[in-house]
């Protein structure tokens, strides 16, 4: 089954926009994706018709929202093939999910002299939370090396694993390089030494089929807004056995069982990690977004995005002075590059004036850019609604922009 991209494009109102009187070409999907009507309609409808706080009201609206939220939880469960719905915790996004695990896990399991392993290609959101707990508990952050093509150095990965390592955190797909990591093998290797893993799926779930049981991930995290859902909602998947072992991170409403001033007992999973009023309408809308992706077919989406990436890669390679950053054999939807003698910032600003939205800079992976010894890259990242015609336009404008800047 292949995608009907023309039809898909009609589902995304923002794509009809012009910027600077030019048709919008939105190639900044790794930063956030646009939203289809069905998702926008959920927000509109729920605030107009159904809004009421969940899990506490006995009235009609509250029951309706509670049911819808729990249905959304099941949608997420099935989308990543989790064993139980209560293994799905709603958070604000990937960053909060990583912080939740880092803080909670460390308070229970990290002691002085322990080690936490990350890779060189991690987003700051999968570095800094671990750094913070390392500082707090006197643990050491170890970094797994990569090869210049942007693949993980598996020898370095294996070498990093030892009895002192308490958790390994790595990305499924690199937001800068586009590399798809062999997360299943990495997880197996960590597990062979009884080390749990956290996988950052922020750039993976929207592009490729994810099965957390097949991967055998202990924790898998992602954001809603990068998979066509609203901002401010995300997911922490954790194996039941792990989530049971972790203490609550934040305290407040909904996460409690009994509260007295002497002692509070906590609610069961997943609610013990959902303190305060959660973004339930965001969660319901995320459920809608995941259904939208499933209805289009994640495999068909992947095929379309792979075609776009291959086409763009082929075409950009013919541009004089271009160096692609990230040339792993397995890549997903991200094309980062630098141009000899031209600053990425200049390219980004000028492309913007032609209606093209790309990201420039270090994409929150400063250590990775330092390693490549580049100040930043231009990054074009694709989603299901992008087309080859847009890539053609992008290439034309790149030529024009480079002529101006050289």
């Amino acid at each position: 089954m292949s995608l009907n991209v023309a039809d898909i494009r009609r589902q995304f109102p923002i794509l009809e926009q012009q910027v600077y009187k030019k048709d919008l070409v939105y190639f900044d999907n790794a930063a956030t994706t646009q939203k289809p009507k069905v998702v926008i309609d959920v927000l509109d409808e729920y605030y107009k018709k159904y809004n009421a706080n969940i899990h506490r009201g006995v009235h009609f609206l509250s029951s309706h929202c509670t049911d819808a939220t729990e249905t959304a939880r099941k949608t997420v469960q099935h989308f990543i093939n989790a064993k139980h719905a209560h293994e799905i915790v709603f958070t604000r996004g990937t960053t909060e999910s990583v912080n939740l695990v880092a803080q909670s896990f460390a308070s229970e399991f990290i002691n002085e002299g322990d080690e936490i392993v990350v890779t060189r290609m991690e987003h700051h959101s999968n570095i800094v939370p671990w750094q913070l707990v390392c500082e707090k508990y006197g643990a050491k952050l170890k970094v797994v090396d990569i090869y210049p093509d942007g693949t993980i150095n598996m020898d370095s990965f294996k070498a990093a694993l030892n009895a002192k390592v308490k958790i390994v955190a790595f990305t499924h797909v690199s937001n800068t390089l586009g590399t798809i990591n062999d997360v299943q093998t990495m997880t197996r290797q960590a597990h062979s030494q009884d080390i749990p893993v956290l996988i950052d799926g922020a750039q993976a779930v929207q592009h490729t089929h994810v099965d957390v049981q097949e991967i055998d991930a202990d924790f898998y995290v992602f954001s809603g807004h990068k998979i066509y859902a609203p901002t401010g909602i995300g997911v922490l998947y954790g194996k039941e056995e792990w989530l049971e072992k972790l203490p609550p991170w934040q305290g407040g409403g909904e996460m409690i069982d009994q509260v007295t001033f002497e002692k509070t007992t906590f609610n069961e999973l997943p609610f013990k990690f959902e303190a305060g009023t959660p973004n339930y309408i965001g969660a319901i809308a995320m459920g809608e977004a995941l259904s939208y992706v499933s209805n289009n077919g994640i495999d068909a989406i992947k095929k379309h995005e792979d075609d776009l990436l291959n086409y763009a890669t082929e075409r950009i390679t013919t541009v004089d002075g271009v160096r692609i950053i990230g040339e792993a054999p397995q890549k997903s939807s991200v094309l980062s590059f630098v141009v000899n003698g031209v600053h990425p910032y200049d390219i980004g600003v000028l492309l913007d004036k032609t209606g093209i939205a790309v990201r420039t800079g270090n994409h929150c992976t400063q250590p990775l850019h330092d390693w490549y010894e580049i100040p930043g890259t231009v990054r074009a990242s694709f989603a299901m609604y992008n087309t080859k015609a847009e890539i053609d336009y992008f290439m034309d404008k790149m030529q024009q922009v480079l002529e101006m800047l050289r």
């Binding site: 031209v342 910032y345 200049d346 600003v349 800079g361 100040p375 101006m404």
Partner: protein, 141 residues
Amino acid sequence: MSTIDEKQQEIVDEFSVFDDWMDKYAYLIEQGKELTGLKDEHRTDNNVISGCQSKVWLHAEYNDGKIVFTADSDAVLTKGLVAMVIKVFSNEKPDAIINAEPWFIKEIGLEENLSPTRSNGLNAMLKQIKFYAMAFKAKHG
């Protein structure tokens, strides 16, 4: 009209002939390419005004009652903006600099570059220029 305002008006007049964004930016790039004058010995980390994406170096010297600025950037568009800012503020007395507003940037339609989140260092550079003016005023009266 102060000489700073006159210089700003000149820039505004030069830009008024362009109605297309690309022409505007082509002109800005030209300005950037013409920006020279920062000596290598002043291209130091001390003189860096850090934007998130593009770097700006700014050096100031006090000469006969006036401040002379030299600057550079690693991005050409930023360099173009920097060139215009330098043109406006350099070779002026500290008091004139302290009291001046860089209104020309908005006038030529490039005010988006002044946003603190724009991260090209321009905003920080303007602040630094005022700091230099205040410092030289304090030092030399």
